[in-house]
Amino acid sequence: MTTPIDAMLDAYAAEIERFETELRPLEERFWCRDSTRAERAEIRAKTDALLAAHKAALERVTSAESRAPRNARRRLRTLADNRIAGLRSKLRKRDDWEKNSFAFAETADDFVAGELADILEPTP
């Protein structure tokens, strides 16, 4: 039998999955080496809207509506608050991060490939 705690955790995980699924293509495009400044500004605006909706959804999941015990709700709400704060901070730092060439996956791969050039096998 599904308890209110199980149902709340399932809903929490489903909301995170939904958010990540929507965010992923935006982030992938953002960090592509050939993305333009205008594109990245547009992605920032879309990401902000997604994050606001995500915050509201997590608040709903951890509200009294879930009928889960207060302690469990409070704990999950704390995790949700930390998550939102972490995501906000990450997005705020993105402007600085963007200046770091290693923010782009290709650059990291190129770097590691250079470091391990004598041991890596040819690209399959």
Binding site: L9, Y12, I16, R75, L79, R83, F111
Partner: protein, 222 residues
């Protein structure tokens, strides 16, 4: 972010880990090892994340003692740790490797409490390399499949250098401890040290200092 690199084969499971201990994002100490040989079975565990959770595993593993029993209960153990609220927002990862009497072979699993979804997963580690933090699928597809100590050390130096160069400041440092698990034995040794080892040794001291000095002497002598 601790290094736990595992290589699995039929003959042996090799684990490389670092020894830098951190609090939040700040290094605070060097420890003897992050890969513990414990229990009455041939088994070793290595954790990433909070030190206190690693200690809880060590104590519980010592009580349960048998590798197969611990692995069999790992999902439940992690779910209980998660439900009790002791695992912080960074989540938790544990690798357990040993000889499974029930399966009559070497066996390694990785248990994870995902930082965001809080979901618990326990999966067997298949043959080959499993690097944490990983170097990306593109690079890993090109890493030779066989194990050597030298290759293990080169890979972790690449992890360290990438972190340093990119400014990520992952907490990787100290010495590289190498743990080899076979069906009959576990051997643990120090392979080498990370390039900023001296700085951390001067700041915190090092329980492996004598061994690290041996490596240094050998390197000078070679």
């Amino acid at each position: 972010m601790t290094v736990v690199n595992v290589h699995v084969s039929e003959q042996a499971i090799n684990i490389l880990s670092d020894t830098l201990v951190y609090n939040g994002e700040r290094p605070v100490a060097l420890c003897k090892t992050k890969c513990d040989v414990i229990g009455d079975s041939i088994a070793a565990i290595a954790c990433r994340g909070q030190v206190k959770i690693a200690r809880m595993h060590r104590e519980l593993f010592s009580d349960i003692a048998r590798f197969d029993d611990y692995v069999g209960n790992l999902h439940l153990i992690l779910a209980e740790y998660e439900a009790s609220g002791v695992i912080n927002e960074d989540g938790h990862e544990i690798t357990i490797a040993g000889y499974s009497a029930a399966r009559q072979r070497l066996f390694a699993v990785q248990g994870v409490v995902a930082p965001e979804t809080r979901q618990v997963t326990v999966n067997e580690l298949e043959a080959g390399w499993h690097l944490s933090p990983d170097l990306g699928t593109g690079i890993m597809a090109r890493v030779p499949t066989g194990y050597t100590d030298d290759l293990a050390q080169r890979l972790t130096l690449a992890q360290w250098k990438l972190s340093q160069t990119a400014g990520w400041n992952f907490c990787i440092g100290g010495v590289m401890t190498l743990t080899s698990v076979t069906s009959t034995t576990i051997a643990q040794r120090i392979g080498s040290f990370y390039p900023d080892y001296e700085r951390h040794r001067e700041l915190f001291g090092d329980p492996n200092e004598a061994f690290a000095a041996d490596i240094s002497t050998q390197k000078v002598a070679a």
